[in-house]
Amino acid sequence: MKILLILAVCMLAGGLGRGQVVDLKHLDRLAAKASETADVTLDGSLLKLGAKFLSNDDPDQAKVKKLVAGLKGIYVRTFEFENEGEYLESDVASIRKQLQAPGWSRIVGVRSKKDGENAEVYLKTDGPDGGLAIICANPKELTVVSIVGKIDLDELSELGHLGVPKIELEKPKPPGKKDDD
């Protein structure tokens, strides 16, 4: 039994070391608790198909097309909750553990006590395939992004300016304040 467990851990670590996908399956159960969920799984063939349909005439789409040209997969899980504490620290810890595999390094870790937001960026630079993983967690929202392949971080960050529909939550207004003020 122990040997099987060790073999499984080695296989998982080895897989991640070769640039395979971060396993996000355990997060699926959070969808039932979340008020809003976004689940995007774009592996090799689907990614190529989607990129083929991106227009060169649209500047935003052209940027994305160029950015994803060398990628092998994009996986996004976003959960927004009504209340705090709907997801467990162990849900995030499980992803962190996978990202401790050889080849991955944490390049940024931000912890904000003020708004309880934690953000981590992991990068995989060695080996034939690169990789990027982003974990953003605050009490009411959890977002995990896993990208397989080499990606330009500056270009990706630049695309963050474009805005994400239904991802940026409006901050709750203080009681008594109206929309027009």
């Binding site: 931000v110 953000a119 300016h161």
Partner: protein
């Protein structure tokens, strides 16, 4: 005399035509020529024999069915492609947005540390 000579004589003996032979020949000669078929009739003649009709039906089906299947396949591929494109745009924007926020936080912290 051999049998062969008898046979030849019998075969080559003079025979008188029937009484109405000349009338038949003249009637046939005086018949008006059949009307010239139009181009459309000439075309449809090709499909008139039953076997050719079946061949034509099979050819049409053989062209139409694969073309229809191909069209459906392309439609499905287009729908899947458009969906994948939207997902891709969304995923890249989420990733970019989160990365941008992290960068902003890091910059904010850097500024705060500089002030201190």
């Amino acid at each position: 005399m051999s049998y062969l000579e008898d046979d030849l004589r019998m075969a080559l003996r003079r025979a008188e035509p029937s009484a109405d032979f000349m009338d038949c020949v003249l009637a046939r000669v005086n018949q008006p020529p059949p009307p010239e078929p139009s181009w459309w009739e000439r075309l449809t003649v090709l499909l008139r024999p039953p076997r050719l009709q079946w061949v034509a039906a099979c050819v049409i089906l053989g062209v139409m069915v694969p073309a229809g299947v191909q069209y459906r396949k392309q439609q499905r591929m287009r729908a899947e492609g458009e969906k994948a494109k939207e997902q891709l745009m969304f995923a890249v924007r989420v990733a970019g947005n989160k990365l941008h926020r992290v960068q902003q936080k890091v910059l904010e912290m850097g500024r705060m540390e500089t002030r201190l």
